[in-house]
Amino acid sequence: MAEAILRMTGIGKEFPGVKALDGVDFRLLPGEVHALMGENGAGKSTLIKVLTGVYSIDSGEIELAGGRVAFAGPLEAQKAGISTVYQEVNLCRNLSVAENVFIGREPRKFGRIRWREMRRRTAELLRQLDLPIDVSKPLSHYSLAIQQMVAIARAIDIDARVLILDEPTSSLDAGEVAQLFRVMRRLKEQGIAILFVSHFLDQIYEIADRMTILRNGRLVGEYVTAELPQVELVGKMIGRELAELERLDERPPARTSDTLVEATELGGKVAPFSLTIREGEVVGLAGLLGSGRTEIARLLFGADHAGTGTLRIGGDQVNLRTPRAAMARGVAFCSENRREEGLVPELTVRENLILALQARRGWSRPVPRKKQDELVAKYIKALNIRPDNPEMLIRNLSGGNQQKVLLARWLILEPRLLILDEPTRGIDVGAKAEIQKLVVELSDGGMAVLFISAELDEVLRLSHKVAVLRDRRLVAELPNDDTLTTDVLMETIASGGAR
């Protein structure tokens, strides 16, 4: 095996309250495509940011081509030969292709830019990548895929030995992906080491030679792609070895209550799907990140508009144009994106907690202060929110406690359907168990719950039935009976419904 161009050993990185990386080893060989795998929060992006000099490391060391390095910033990493192309192309779309490739390092003569040479060298560079395009046209003239490849061309022209592609395919169609992969193979032949991040498993298996899997900031292992079946990969990402996957004994009986929500061929940012949710039923949504779980939730809550299909709630056909309309129908949605879609950081715990209730009552009917204090005290106790000071600004709480406050915001409304998007992510084990228990209690009390989680055993423990998503498509709806195991779920997620 060739000598590694890049070797990271025992990398540790800590943020206040979180160990983002804990003793991670990672190596990259010249001329390989190496996939970095892991669920959201596993530490992939932290590792990339450490590697590109965005973050400094707390422990461990990085060796590049045999010499130890410590980057003080992205520019230093770039100079050392590590180039990154991010998901969002960060080039100037209004400038020409050639200008974009040479921006900041234009060929000059007597202080003046030599435009002709710049265009000639860009064209030559792109020809090497099988991309014969007009380099004097503005970048915005070309598709996203080509823009991405211009970004790659720029990266490798700065003498890159390591190229990091962070989710380059997320907004490309199949043909564009194929084109990108051709370029990647060509670079591989030139001996460049490519670090590739993608949530699409098929693409990983098509292009990656080897992969490194992270989970909760720790290294799971390094594998040759061809030797690791998809099911095992999913298992390792989610955190269950096949051997130890055991059936859960308690299994909620199927519900036969009245239908509360009935979606028929409802579609928007996801492929049209049909789904029914009964009163008091917990429906689990399983699938990898980006598989369309959140999109389904947002459609049912009116946060996104449905393009096709019909939705019935409580027997009435509804057209949800706003979250407010969904709330009036008894739907509540606790977003996975706490910071952008949940918290109002400058407000106190109390104010955040009563926000949805106050919004429903309108500005002229304030929730009486005494009632507020009662509600807040009740939920601080019920959900064990720490510290139990309602007048504290919510931004000063830990993530898990913020999550509980947001959960309480919706519980106060006593909704008929509660949509929980990753309610237990990033919170400690105790809080996790509390939230799971709460879901069971709510469901016993007749509330329907749509439960979204990347943790399959959690989905299995709580759900009456499970809908499985893959690549923005609902591929299977499985009753949670004795035959359903995390194995089966993983298989469904990995293979796309072929049971």
Partner: protein, 343 residues
């Protein structure tokens, strides 16, 4: 209220400076049943600015800004004066009330227009209100036909120049408006909803707040405040000047809001702070006259003082200045070693 300590302190300091230059600065006396004194004058002449700044506070709390208030001041004054000038008897109370109603209704309509552009069309507030800021001056001149309309109406004169219960009428108007805003935002729930929309618009939408309607109401209210201020200003001089009435008042109002501790980033707002901020600016103007700063340097002087006030208000600046005085200098960095500072 710890947040108000700094603006209150600065106001006190400015007032004390005046005491050095003007004898009996703090003296208040009753002449012919009216309160007189320099402090009363600051309140009285500052009343329009306080009103405009109060409306601006709510707009800024929603993460917006309203540059058009100066134009609305001019339009409202022009409209009222035009209506009164056409009256057969300019002293008829009914006629004056009608004129005021028309002027304020027009102001509200303009504010609704601003709110519509911001909330429904989605134009950035600074651009949306810039339109009316520029076009509004033209509209005001259109109303006055390019002339300065002069009127002679005793009931109208009361608004800006009159007294009631020994107090200048303008102060009473400010007190009523302030009490109304405080009630609606703090006793009712409007304040919480405004702060929520300003703090995180998307989270507020997902919590079911009707942010479009809320924004339109806030901009309409801000224009109403500007409209009332316009009545005061034109009433005080018994004339309407479409060109100069309320000129640059939007900048003073924004300044007053910021000095009062409401962040331009939206969210938390402080009505008391805004009143203090407006009083600081008005006191500064008075001070400039009383200490005899040459007219050609008044703007420069004002800018200087405002800069100092803003620096004193900035926690980052205070931390730097006061820490470096108290603490010894940080240990020097050994040569050749790189240090990254994390804040």
């Amino acid at each position: 209220m710890k947040r108000l300590a700094w603006p209150a302190g600065i106001l006190a300091a400015l007032l004390l400076v005046n005491l050095i230059f003007t004898d009996h600065f703090f003296q208040i006396e009753i002449k012919e049943g009216h309160l007189y004194g320099s402090l009363i004058d600051i309140f009285r002449f500052g009343a329009p600015l306080i009103l405009v700044a109060l409306g601006m506070t709510l707009v800024i709390a929603t993460k917006g800004i309203d540059l058009s208030v100066g134009s609305v001041v001019a339009i409202s004054g022009a409209m009222a004066c035009l209506q009164i000038s056409t009256l057969e008897a300019q002293d008829s109370i009914g006629g004056v009330l009608g004129a005021i109603g028309v002027a304020l209704a027009l102001s509200i309509a303009l504010g609704i227009g601003n709110g519509f552009l911001v909330a429904v069309i989605g134009i950035q507030p600074i651009i949306a209100t810039l339109i009316l800021m520029v076009a509004g001056r033209g509209l005001a001149q259109l109303i006055t036909d390019g002339q300065i309309i002069t009127i002679n109406s005793d009931p109208y004169k009361l608004i800006g120049g009159g007294y009631w219960l020994t107090l200048p009428f303008g102060i009473i108007i400010v007190a009523v408006v302030l009490a109304l805003i405080a009630f609606v935002t703090r006793r009712l729930a409007l304040g919480l909803l405004i702060e929520s929309v300003g703090g995180n618009a998307e989270a507020s939408r997902l919590s079911g707040i009707r942010s479009h309607g809320l924004l339109i109401v806030v901009y309409a209210f801000c224009a109403l405040c500007a409209g009332i201020a316009g009545l005061m200003i034109s009433s005080n001089v018994s004339s309407a000047d479409g060109n100069n009435a309320g000129l640059w008042i939007e900048l003073d109002a924004i300044l007053a809001v910021v000095i009062g501790g409401t962040s331009l980033a939206g969210g938390r707002f402080s009505l008391g702070g805004t009143v203090l901020g407006a009083l600081i600016i008005q006191t500064l103007t008075t001070t400039i006259y009383s200490i005899g700063v040459p007219p050609e340097t008044t703007l420069l002087f004002k800018a200087l003082v405002v800069t100092i006030v803003c620096l004193l208000q900035s926690p980052a600046f205070r931390a730097k200045v006061f820490r470096s005085r108290r603490k010894p200098a940080p240990p020097t960095v050994p040569a050749g070693e790189k240090v990254t500072v994390r804040t």
